[in-house]
């Protein structure tokens, strides 16, 4: 097995467009959980409306792609309002179940047969982001030693990492504003914030909308990345990935989700490539694992990682333990 090849695959995974997209969605989640203390387990729902908002406006209404992305973000605002009104008054753990259920409800609706004329049902939608790739300024692949990025991936990486960094800057500015301080006050002690005359519900709602919009933007980028979306790509596991990324990097840190995403995707693609290499080299007996099991091993590893992180290092790589009291409020 060529360890250098495995490493280069892993580095490509860590820097690739998916890492940027997940980082962006995790920044949204960080807004919810890290700064406001909302247990949102339905972030994938925001990604879903962002992706479908984009694709449907382009395919069904003939909007230009940029307008489609805006529509996707607007859908996230609507979703946040609909979701927030009944659930934001609930205790944390109830909120978690309500949000995961809401995301599943959305997935069922988008894949149902009556929505098929618009959403494509279980088959989803394809080929709606051609105009994005027409703008591609890169003409050839970039090669750095064993690393190789195609021109399409390069263009998408530029845009996705650019947006992610912009989002991080935005979050940094917001968190260091008076608004951000109230947000953290809500997280630390809702009653105290309320006693100072702050409208806690409004602040929570604003955070939910903002984080949701970032999630929708990530969803739109995910749709553009693959040029094909199906509702079943937006399963609860995606939300769990995002949680792992956020906690790995360090919740309530601006750079936490970005570092988390890079490390997460490095480890995940490394594991993947390593297992494939080890299997083809015959290191793993066929009776133990077959190549089709690799996906399952990956998910199991994420689960184990999430457990161990939460048990032994809930503050993640760069988190501040004092910032993160993990208890139901």
């Amino acid at each position: 097995m060529d360890i250098l090849a495995v490493l280069s695959v892993a580095i490509r995974g860590a820097l690739g467009p998916e890492a940027a997209i997940y980082a962006l969605a995790a920044i949204g989640l960080n807004m919810h959980f890290g700064y406001t203390g909302l247990l949102n387990f339905g972030q994938v729902g925001f990604m879903l409306v962002g992706a479908y908002g984009t694709a449907i406006s382009v395919l069904s209404f003939g909007f230009p792609l940029w307008a489609g992305v805006l529509v996707g973000m607007a859908c996230a605002v609507v979703l946040a309002l609909i979701l927030g009104v009944p659930t934001l008054r609930l205790r944390g753990d109830y909120l978690a179940i309500a949000t995961i259920a809401a995301a599943e409800v959305l997935r069922y609706v988008y894949r149902s047969s009556f929505a098929e004329p618009v959403t494509g049902g279980v088959y989803g939608l394809v080929q709606f982001a051609g105009s994005f790739y027409e703008l591609n300024p890169f003409s050839g692949p970039l090669e750095l030693g064993p690393l190789r990025f195609g021109d399409r991936a390069l263009w998408l990486m530029t845009v996705a990492w650019g947006i992610t960094l912009l989002a991080a800057v935005l979050v940094w500015l917001l968190i260091h504003s008076p608004w951000g301080r109230v947000l953290r006050a809500v997280r630390e002690d809702e009653e105290a914030a309320r006693s100072l005359g702050k409208n806690v519900f409004a602040y929570k709602m604003q955070a939910l909308v903002l984080g949701g919009v970032l999630g929708a933007l990530a969803g739109a980028l995910l749709a553009i990345n693959s040029q094909a979306i199906t509702p079943d790509a937006f399963i609860p596991i995606i939300t769990f990935y995002l949680w792992t990324i956020m906690i790995l990097g360090g919740a309530s840190r601006v750079l936490g989700p970005i570092i988390g995403s890079i490390v997460f995707w490095f480890l995940l693609t490394f594991l993947d490539a390593f297992l494939r290499g080890a299997m083809s080299a015959g290191w793993i007996p066929g009776g133990l694992l077959v190549p089709s099991d690799i996906g399952a091993v990956r998910f199991a590893a994420v689960g184990l990682g999430l457990m161990l992180l939460m048990m032994f290092r809930p503050a993640g790589l760069i988190g501040n333990r004092k910032e993160l009291r993990l208890d139901v409020r």
Partner: protein, 439 residues
Amino acid sequence: MTARLWAALAAVLLGLFLGAGLPGGTPAAAVPTTVVSAAEEAAESVQGTLRDPDREPIEGVTVTVTQDGAEIGSATTDAEGTWAVPLPGPGAYTVTLDVAGLPEGVAPRTEGGEVLDGVQVRAGASQGVIFQLGTGEVDEGGGGVPVGRVLQLVVDGIKFGAIIAITAVGLSLVFGTTKLINFAHGEFVTIGAVAAYFLSTSPGNLPIILAAVLAMAVGGAVAGGFEVTLWRPLRRRGAGLIQMFIVAIGLSLLLRHLVLIIFGSRRQQYDEYSLQTALTLGPVRITPRDLIITVLAFVIMVAVAVMLQRTRIGTAMRAVNDNRDLAEASGIDVQRVILVVWVLGGALAAIGGVFLGLTQAIYSEMGFELLLLMFAGVILGGLGSAYGAMLGSLVIGLVSQLSTLWFPASLAYMWALLVMILVLLVRPQGILGRRERVG
């Protein structure tokens, strides 16, 4: 499973394969799969098995495949009810069933159901096609609601709800005693079903009843094992509830995919009782297996209730549930009670998994899919209340089945989840829950 549910399942598969063009109100869509038979190289074909509502194969019926009006080929079903028509290439085809060849009292479930338009066949694929056959009473599709159908769905709903209920009791009791929302509870359901599968098939070949009892022991042991090795140390360290909740999510991911690696991704059936002739009781049809499962589920619920009310450990559970500190102060060994709750919850989830596997199928996602319905039932009834969990789960089972009267069956779970969100909106403590701050 009743004939109607089988038909619904068949329709689900049909919806998958066909996608568009289904008559309104027919259920559609599940996990996308295409039957690709390895034996038939790269040649395209359509194939299927014709069964009557009692799952008996129908022989001697002609199926014709056309494309743009031109006949491509036809086939007649054999003794197993199977038919196959080879095709010249991938594309969209129309598959027509010769209704005249059907036995008496069997007809397509919907008007025009004998013609399936736009069957998409991909390159090299052997495309499965399913005709939904019923007893000849054509659904009027959205018009009136037939009483017989309502009763049938009520029975199906009670059966499904009872299975959710016995699995959800453990979830609710664990929450009541430890305040942990156990996200991994669905995995106990899967582990129970899978354990019984391995025990009841070769090399063990145990009868399913014995396998089910052993599966309960496995479920209880797994749940109790995690309590001792994971949850108790975490509680000792003073871990926060959110922290434990996220650990439970990680555990759920880990267990589910370990099961996937061991069990494989195929849906399986138990060897015994997989095909049964339905009993007809007035307007309602139910297989003896489903009847026994429903009755057993209720017996288990009553047994749990008696245990909670009458036995020492049951009283202790309720005491810890009510007020942990007070229970501890009055000399109850809280850690032991919690362990018993976990073992009980795991065993109940495991037997629920066996029931679910018997009525539907065994696959690694089955518990996780049920989990959200369990949450719905538990929240509807009131978190922490065992009786609430039973009541709420029955309501959830009924809601999900009765919704298919008006809406596609693929959305049945969605209605159950919407009911939960609605309940959180108007009465967050649930039907039987204690009034406390949940907001």
